[in-house]
């Protein structure tokens, strides 16, 4: 696929648009607010459908329970907050009220990754995928740009029956998918065919993966690029096929490398088709204040790091043979 950025947009904008559109189509959709509604993309819906917007205040634990109650009554509640608060403050409510009851609650996790920027470590969600991924019944979505986040949000509301977590970011980032392909939950997208190694990326790092693949191409290395927009259920078929065909996988995510996408793929290939792997992401530390671009650079979450680690990986792969 050609690398065309149609302009930078925050993925949270896609979430807000998706919620609005699904809400327009289905009067059962309701939104819950925990004070930060415009910051997490819920303001469009709240303004259009004030009677379906419920303000609960700064009380994320209660929000999860309220969402559960609404869902048990047949509503489709969408609750968006910062990923750090969803995954950690309200973790027990998500585990028992939401997941054990297996209700169709859509949880929006905003402020994903270090690209949150100046707010610093407290507000940069870097462990949310790990927390959400281990919960039974939970579906975990991590779309790559604003256009895809809109489609993911609509899919979460209209196609799922149980709990769903959707992760998105704050800073304007390249909006490069054209929205022409349907968003199929659980199906990874092959963005580029290659045979030397696979770059499996999620969220903001998908764009970086595509850029890295171009650089690698200029050095004679052909990279297969997967957009893993669904962390759970993982598309085992596409990933294992990539493992067999390319013999090496590098993962890229704006998340701790343990427990998130890297962990998920390592678990999968270890069990079915072990190949050498590299991991791009956060390495067991907190983020800090700064601007999005320089923080991503500093923590090794840009295409340059994907290229460096890919070259090492390809070398390892051939050494192993």
């Amino acid at each position: 696929m050609p690398l065309i950025n149609r302009g930078n947009r925050p993925t949270k904008a896609g979430f807000g648009e998706g919620l609005l559109e699904a809400g327009k189509r289905n009067p059962l959709v309701m939104a819950i607010g925990a004070d930060i509604t415009s910051s997490v993309g819920v303001n469009l819906f709240a303004e259009a459908y004030p009677e379906r917007f419920i303000s609960i205040g700064i009380a994320e634990q209660n929000c999860m329970g309220v969402a559960t109650g609404l869902a048990l009554e047949g509503k489709i509640p969408v609750f968006s907050t910062y990923g750090v608060f969803a995954a950690h403050r309200a973790a027990d409510q998500i585990r028992i009220s939401v997941c054990y009851n297996n209700v169709h609650v859509i949880i929006g996790g905003a402020h994903a990754g270090v690209s949150v920027g100046p707010d610093g470590a407290t507000h940069q969600a870097l462990e949310d995928l790990a927390v959400m991924r281990v919960l039974p019944n939970m579906t975990v979505l991590s779309p790559c740009d604003a256009t895809q986040t809109k489609l993911a949000t609509i899919a979460a509301i209209e196609q799922c029956h149980g709990p769903v977590y959707i992760r998105f970011g704050r800073e304007p980032m390249p909006d490069f998918t054209d929205g022409s392909k349907p968003y199929t939950i659980g199906k990874a997208e092959i963005l580029r065919q290659g045979h030397d190694l696979t770059i499996a990326a999620t969220g903001h790092l998908v764009w970086e993966a595509l850029k890295a693949a171009e650089t690698l191409q200029s050095r004679g290395i052909s990279a297969h690029v997967l957009n893993i927009h669904t962390i759970k259920p993982l598309d085992t078929e596409t990933i294992l096929q990539a493992a067999r065909e390319t013999g090496a996988i590098i993962t890229a995510e704006e998340h701790q490398v343990t427990g998130g996408l890297g962990g998920a793929i390592a678990e999968l290939v270890a069990g079915y088709y072990p190949v050498p792997m590299e991991f791009v992401g956060m390495n067991n530390r907190f983020g800090e204040s700064g601007n999005a671009e320089t923080l991503m650079e500093m923590f090794g979450m840009k295409s340059s790091m994907i290229v460096t680690k890919s070259l090492q990986l390809v070398e390892r792969k051939f050494k192993n043979r």
Partner: protein
């Protein structure tokens, strides 16, 4: 849809005794579980399911039913016994409590398909939030059914309870009625020693609730409280039900060590006999 016919008030003590016997039998058979709180709530559960709740055991999902949310999942035995005696499932199934493959999980789990069960719960401090969501849905759909939530007194130490208490008043949920099982004890001892709750009624009042107290072992008192709870337009209601942990079995009444304990099979026989004798005595007294 026909709802279950309310019982005469005079029938309630005998039903409560049968529910207590079932609680004791099922826990003795299970070999683990929570006897004290389950016995202490038997009169409240009997009043609700046999006199107050709009419900239909032959149609558990009846959309217009009143909902009962049990937040303190550990007293599941009294919920299960009440549901069985009300006709949701055979009383004999109570003997599967806590066993592998049972619909009667140690703490309620909806995934096992028990009819009449509204919520999987067991981690304290969550039930009221869910009840608030159900009450908001009821209001938004202009329904007249009510949401009842049973909370423990020790549970009120969980901060999330007060998040939901604030939200219920803010959203004027007068279709929501909380019953606090005020037995004054929790696992480590008296609530006032572990983490004081008093002045409890004032706390709820200051959160914007209509507050009522009752004797949780006097059916007239429980009924009056429940009727009063229906009469506070715009306000959620809380009934502080003063109960005795282990009520009905003299040797364990008020003893917090029976929070998470079960009788041996021999003790169960004695306890059941004690309940039978007391009921017979009560009826003898009533006739003479």
């Amino acid at each position: 849809m026909a709802q279950r016919k309310a019982c005469d008030t005079e029938a309630l003590p005998r039903i409560a005794t049968e529910i207590r016997k079932s609680v004791i039998r099922s826990l003795a058979e299970a070999g683990s579980g929570h006897l004290g709180g389950s016995l202490g709530l038997a009169d409240v559960f009997t009043t609700l399911y046999f006199s107050v709740l709009k419900h239909d055991p032959s149609f558990p999902q009846w959309p217009d039913r009143d909902r009962l949310i049990l937040s303190i999942g550990h007293v599941a035995p009294v919920l299960y016994a009440t549901l069985a005696h009300a006709g949701y499932f055979p009383v004999g199934e109570l003997m599967t409590l806590r066993k592998q493959g049972s619909r009667l999980q140690g703490h309620p789990g909806r995934d096992h398909g028990l009819p009449g069960l509204e919520l999987s719960a067991g981690s304290l401090g969550q039930g009221l939030s869910v009840a608030v969501g159900m009450a908001i849905a009821g209001k938004s759909d202009q329904k007249s059914h009510k949401i009842y939530a049973i909370l423990g007194d020790g549970e009120l130490q969980e901060g999330s309870v007060w998040e939901s208490a604030m939200a219920a008043a803010h959203h004027h949920l007068d279709n929501l009625i909380v019953i606090v099982d005020r037995n004054g004890v929790q696992i480590d001892g008296k609530t006032e020693d572990v983490m004081g709750l008093e002045p409890l009624a004032d706390k709820w009042k200051s959160f914007g609730w209509h507050v009522i107290s009752c004797n949780g072992h006097d059916f007239g008192s429980i009924l009056r409280a429940l009727y009063s709870a229906a009469g506070a337009p715009g306000l959620p209601s809380v009934i502080i039900a003063n109960t005795i942990m282990g009520k009905g079995i003299k040797s364990i009444e008020g003893n917090y060590q029976w929070h998470g304990k079960v009788p041996t099979k021999e003790q169960a026989v004695d306890f059941i006999q004690e309940l039978s004798e007391n009921t017979n005595q009560r009826e003898f007294d009533a006739i003479n």
